[in-house]
Structure formats: structure tokens, C-alpha cells
């Protein structure tokens, strides 16, 4: 199966938006304009976009603390996201959630998550709804290599399997959980774990959009046609620290630069589509420039937007409740 030019353009645009978004958030955080905990996804773009390219409005995803990329890939509004990260009233969650809790249920984005391993059980729920209502919807749980060691994740593997739920588990293995290497923390293999629960699993090069896209196509189709859950072990790399402010001394000297040079997801995508004459460099360049400008506008809007007001503190605790 082939990607159309339009699909390629959309995919590249989303990857550029994610990269620009994360670089901008990095700069704004460094300048002291963004508070709190911020975890950036730069370097991992091919995973979110390669997988979400197969999803539509029927489908749901559950994300992690490193959620900006998943949000953009699933169609959340980057401007609303930026306002949220700046803690502004018109942010996607009214400024109440922040970077770690961006959600847009209208887009099937069930939330970034501050709890490692919080997503997989919830995604079983989304899959149950889809199955019960017979919507044809698929539910995708993104988890990190670190989150793959959480009991909630294992229990979800089993539940999805025994209930035959339309789930794809995506283990994004960026080599580290905080400062701890996944080589050390993960007993057995991700694919072996999936097989242990009776699910198919494949290892995928997460720097290569096309590899992710292809593996995800099979996993999503499988879930959609009622053949049950499966797992993708996506191997990739994060460029920034665990959170903004992390000096990343646990990485080897020069490691980040090496990956950027050899395995950058955007560079690899460009090279591939130009070599195969699917898109030309001019087109790619203008997509990049548009993304850059759009994200700069998002930052400008977020910087000047209004903060929430006193009255907002106690709204939405319950559906309709005055305490």
C-alpha cells in the first residue's frame, strides 16, 4: 500500500509542527515564560505521526507526560495547546491542565498523563466503547519504555487480549526513562511480553516514518477488523532532557548529536521522498517555513493571552455543583 502525495504532505506538515512546537516550547521554557514540568517529544515525531496517520475521528489515543507530539498528530489545535502550556484561560483545558494534561476528547485525544502507566487501562475503556457501540473505532495507547514496566500496562495487555479489544499498544522506547536505560529496566523484550499475553508484536525503527507507518497500518487494520490487540515496539530517541532543566548527564558525550546527524526523523523523511520523487525539496521547504511561522504565531498569541480569573478556580469540579 502506498501513501498519496497529499497524505505525505500532511504527514510531513504534522512532523514539522511537532518539531517546531517542541523547539519553541524549549526556548520559551528557557526564557522563563513557561512554568512547571515540561517533557519534550522532539526526535520522536515519526512515531506519533506514523501511527496517527491511520486514525480518524472514530479512534482514540491515550498519551503520556511526553504528550505534545501525540496531541498534534491526532489533530489537536497547536495554538490551544500552546496557550494551555502557558497556563492561559483559552488554552485547550482552560489553563487548568498544563503540559502534562492536554486533552481534547472531541479529537479522540484522551489526555496526556502525569501518571506513568495511566493510559493503557483507559484505552481499554475507549476500545470497549468502540466495540460495544460497533463504531469500527480503534484505541491506541502510547507508553514509554519506563511505563512498559508498570502493572497497569501488563494488566491492560491481558484485559485487551481476553476481551478481544480493538487496541494497539505502542511502546515508545527512547532508550531512557528519566536517567535509567531501558536496556537495564526492561526484563525480557517488548515483543516477547506481547507474545506472552497472546498478542502479536513487532519491533519498528521509530526514526523511519515509513517503517512506523507500515507497521501501524497492519496493527490498526487488525484491530479494526476485529482481530484483537497487538503491540508495536518503536525504537527511537529523545533529543532534549527528560524534562526541561534536566542536564542529561546520563547520556554519552556526543550521543544526541550523533543521533541527530544519522537518524533524524525529518531528515530521513525528506531524503526518502525526494529520492523517490514523491515530493520535491521546494515543497518540503515551504511546508517547513509555514510550520515555523504558524508556531511563532502560537507563541505570540500564548504570550499575550489572558490568564484564568478567580472565578475559574472552582468551576468544573463536578458537572454542576457549588461547594
Amino acid at each position: 500500500m502506498q501513501l498519496s502525495r497529499d497524505e505525505l504532505r500532511t504527514a510531513f506538515k504534522r512532523m514539522c509542527l511537532i518539531r517546531q512546537f517542541e523547539d519553541a516550547v524549549h526556548d520559551e521554557f528557557s526564557a522563563g515564560n513557561i512554568p512547571g514540568f515540561v517533557h519534550l517529544y522532539a526526535g520522536e515525531e515519526a512515531s506519533a505521526v506514523g501511527i496517527c496517520s491511520h486514525l480518524d475521528d472514530r479512534d482514540a489515543i491515550a498519551s503520556t507526560h511526553r504528550g505534545h507530539g501525540h496531541c498534534i498528530a491526532k489533530g489537536c489545535d497547536p495554538k490551544g495547546m500552546m496557550l494551555e502550556i502557558f497556563g492561559k484561560k483559552d488554552g485547550l483545558c482552560g489553563g487548568k491542565g498544563g503540559s502534562m494534561h492536554i486533552a481534547d476528547l472531541s479529537k479522540g485525544m484522551m489526555g496526556a498523563n502525569g501518571i506513568v502507566g495511566g493510559g493503557p487501562p483507559l484505552i481499554c475503556g475507549a476500545a470497549l466503547t468502540a466495540k460495544y457501540r460497533d463504531t469500527g473505532g480503534v484505541a491506541v495507547a502510547f507508553v514509554g519504555d519506563g511505563a512498559s514496566n508498570q502493572g497497569t500496562t501488563f494488566e491492560s495487555y491481558n484485559l485487551a487480549k481476553v476481551w478481544d479489544l480493538p487496541v494497539v499498544f505502542v511502546v515508545e522506547d527512547n532508550r531512557y526513562a528519566e536517567s535509567t536505560a531501558s536496556d537495564w529496566s526492561v526484563g525480557g523484550s517488548q515483543v516477547g511480553r506481547a507474545n506472552g499475553f497472546g498478542m502479536p508484536g513487532v519491533e519498528v525503527d521509530g526514526h523511519d516514518f515509513f517503517a512506523v507507518w507500515d507497521a501501524a497500518r497492519q496493527a490498526v487494520e487488525r484491530a479494526r477488523d476485529g482481530s484483537g490487540p497487538s503491540l508495536l515496539h518503536v525504537k527511537l530517541y529523545r533529543y532534549y532532557g527528560h524534562f526541561e532543566g534536566d542536564a542529561s548527564t546520563y547520556k554519552a558525550p556526543g550521543e544526541v548529536e550523533q543521533v541527530k546527524q544519522r537518524l533524524d526523523a525529518l531528515d530521513m523523511f525528506k531524503q526518502r521522498v525526494v529520492e523517490t520523487s514523491l515530493l520535491d525539496s521546494e515543497e518540503l521547504k515551504s511546508i517547513e517555513q509555514e510550520a515555523e511561522k504558524f508556531i511563532a504565531d502560537c507563541v505570540a498569541a500564548a504570550s499575550t493571552a489572558d490568564a484564568p480569573a478567580r472565578d475559574d478556580l472552582m468551576t468544573d469540579v463536578y458537572v454542576d455543583y457549588k461547594f
Binding site: 512554568p35 512547571g36 514540568f37 497556563g87 492561559k88 484561560k89 488554552g91 489553563g95 487548568k96 491542565g97 498544563g98 503540559s99 502534562m100 494534561h101 498523563n113 502525569g114 501518571i115 506513568v116 502507566g117 519506563g146 511505563a147 514496566n149 508498570q150 502493572g151 497497569t152 531512557y176 526513562a177 528519566e178 536517567s179 535509567t180 536505560a181 531501558s182 536496556d183 537495564w184 529496566s185 526492561v186 542529561s248 548527564t249 546520563y250 547520556k251 554519552a252 558525550p253 550521543e255 490568564a307 484564568p308 480569573a309 478567580r310 475559574d312 478556580l313 472552582m314 469540579v317 461547594f323
Partner: protein
């Protein structure tokens, strides 16, 4: 006396107890850090650098980095405690109790009683709490009322570096499971902390200010706000007793009731959500035991009945303020002469 930060006080307490007793081990996520990684070993020392330097001194056998599996490693610490070690496990943020609470409240807390007094469980769980870090709803809660509710658990909430070291050493030597709360915005707070080993007994409140007009009872970080309010009020001639219970289980009821009776006007300050928290508990205790001595209704200054919001504009509204404590005392002092 040397000045040390809250962070240094905890690090020193752990180090001295580990030097003294080889049954003390520590474990947690990135508690040393760099496990299996190609770069620096001991890369983190926990997310706030509190345990930095302990792994190089004591080795990875006693400073154990864990996978992200709280249910397994907190339970493992409980199991090691009941079989002869003295583990200090770090539950990075208390909000993460959600994934491991069974091992704490159904297992560790109940061994001694359920097993007819035949078990001791010298487990310490160090954990971060509190708002003010812009860390949003799942990394900012207090939650110590939930632990205080459970018989069998002891709960310590130090309000300054001096208390942090003394209470932590006491916690490690204690034969019951202790949950030890560290406020995440207090790690750089400084105070005089002796180099020597010392303990602060559980169940003994500290009276940090003495006065005649009102009693303010506060917990953890709120003690500092209460002290500040007391100092401000003194300028206008109102003197306040400030009580820092230091542990909520066991609770120094005597000091609380005595100081409440003496002034007859009580403010309780608790950063936690207002329902079923420490303030409601202490207020009930006072009403039940010294109602006749009260000159005015008790005031409770707490967080709000809402998740902790991310936006700084909202989070600042969420957290109790020195000004609200001051105003509450002034209001009470205007009553009941």
C-alpha cells in the same frame, strides 16, 4: 551550628543512618540514576537531587534504582522490612500512591495487628507533596490525611530542615511503617542543623511561637506561613501560639488541647483539600475536648475542594496564604472578650 538546606538535611540523615546500620537500604526511581546508561552514574540522586552521593558511598547494593513499578518496589520494601531490613523507599510524588496503595495500607500497615503482634515492619516511605511548583493536578496533592486515616501507619510532616533530619532518623529507627512527607517547594529552605545524629520523637509537637491571643495549629509548609503571620500580628500587639504537631500519627493531642484552651481562639491551617483533612480532624478533637474554653468558633484555612490547577494564576489562589491566616486571627481576636 551549621546551616543546611532541607535537601542536605535529609541526605545527611540517610547517610548517617546507613553508616550506622547496614540493614538500612534505600530504593526508588532514579534514586541514584544512570542505571544501565552510558553517561554519568549517580546522574540524578532522585528528581530533586536529595539522595545524590549516597550510591558512590554505599554502592548499588544499598542504593537501589528501580524500574517504574511502584506497586512492586514499595511492596518489596514492605516485604524486606518485615523480614529484617530497614528500607527507605522513595515514592517520588505522593500522588503516585494510586498505583501502590494496597501494598502500603492493606499490607505494611496491617502486618503487626493482623499477625497478632508477631511482625515489625520498619519501613520508611519518603514522598513529595504539596502545591506551588506549577506541577498540576497529578503532582501537587497533599494526601497525608489519607495515610493518617489508616491505623498502623505513622505519618511525619517536617516543617523545616532541623525537623527533617531528626524526624527522618527517628523514622528509620522506628519499628512501624512511617510515611515521611517532604514539601517539594521546601528543598532549598535553610536552617541550623547539627552535624551530629539526633532524633525528634514522634508525637511531640513543637511550639514555635508563644502568645496569648490565639493558637494557630499548622502542618508542614503551612507552619512557616503561620510563623510569618504570627510575626506580622505581633507588630500590632496580637500574640499567637503556633503549634507544629510534626507527626499526625501519633498526634500530640495534649499540646494541641492545652494551647487551644489557653487562648480559646483557634485557627487550623492545612494545605490539603478542606473535606476530611487534618484541619477537620483537629477541629473535631478540640470541640470534643475543650469546647467550653473556646471564645469563638474554630477557623480552618485550607486548600480548595478542587484538584490543584496548573495555571499559576489559579494555583496561587488555591494555596493558603499568610494574609488569610492573619485575617482569620484578627477576626477571632475581635470576638469573645
Amino acid at each position: 551550628m551549621p546551616t543546611k538546606s532541607f535537601r542536605e538535611a535529609i541526605n545527611e540523615g540517610l547517610r548517617q543512618e546507613m553508616e550506622r546500620d547496614d540493614s538500612v537500604i534505600i530504593m526508588g526511581e532514579d534514586i541514584a540514576g544512570g542505571m544501565g546508561s552510558p553517561g554519568e552514574d549517580d546522574a540524578w540522586g532522585g528528581p530533586m537531587g536529595v539522595t545524590k552521593g549516597l550510591m558512590p558511598q554505599f554502592g548499588r547494593e544499598r542504593v537501589l534504582d528501580t524500574p517504574i513499578s511502584e506497586s512492586a518496589f514499595i511492596g518489596c520494601a514492605a516485604g524486606a522490612a518485615v523480614t529484617g531490613l530497614r528500607p527507605v523507599a522513595e515514592l517520588m510524588f505522593v500522588d503516585f500512591m494510586g498505583v501502590c496503595f494496597d501494598q502500603i495500607f492493606n499490607q505494611a500497615a496491617k502486618f503487626r495487628y493482623m499477625f497478632g503482634g508477631k511482625a515489625t515492619t520498619p519501613l520508611v516511605i519518603r514522598t513529595m507533596y504539596g502545591a506551588g511548583f506549577r506541577a498540576a493536578s497529578q503532582h501537587s496533592q497533599c494526601l497525608y490525611p489519607l495515610f493518617t486515616h489508616i491505623p498502623g501507619l505513622k505519618v511525619a510532616i517536617p516543617s523545616n530542615p532541623y525537623e527533617a533530619k531528626g524526624l527522618l532518623i527517628q523514622a528509620i529507627r522506628d519499628d512501624d511503617p512511617v510515611v515521611f512527607f517532604e514539601h517539594k517547594v521546601m528543598y532549598d529552605d535553610e536552617a541550623d542543623v547539627p552535624d551530629e545524629i539526633y532524633t525528634i520523637p514522634f508525637g511531640e509537637a513543637n511550639v514555635s511561637r508563644e502568645g496569648d491571643d490565639a493558637t494557630v495549629i499548622a502542618f508542614g509548609r503551612m507552619v512557616n506561613l503561620a510563623n510569618e503571620a504570627a510575626d506580622r500580628l505581633k507588630e500590632s500587639g496580637i500574640t499567637v501560639t503556633v503549634v507544629d504537631p510534626r507527626t499526625t500519627s501519633p498526634l500530640d493531642k495534649e499540646t494541641i488541647l492545652e494551647t487551644a484552651s489557653e487562648t480559646g481562639r483557634v485557627v487550623v491551617v492545612d494545605e490539603a483539600h478542606p473535606r476530611c483533612n487534618l484541619a477537620t480532624d483537629i477541629s473535631a478533637l478540640i470541640c470534643e475536648n475543650c469546647f467550653d474554653d473556646l471564645k469563638a468558633p474554630i477557623k480552618q484555612i485550607c486548600g480548595h475542594h478542587a484538584p490543584v490547577p496548573f495555571s499559576p494564576a489559579l494555583e496561587d489562589l488555591y494555596i493558603p496564604k499568610v494574609e488569610s491566616i492573619e485575617a482569620a486571627v484578627r477576626e477571632l481576636v475581635g470576638k469573645g472578650h
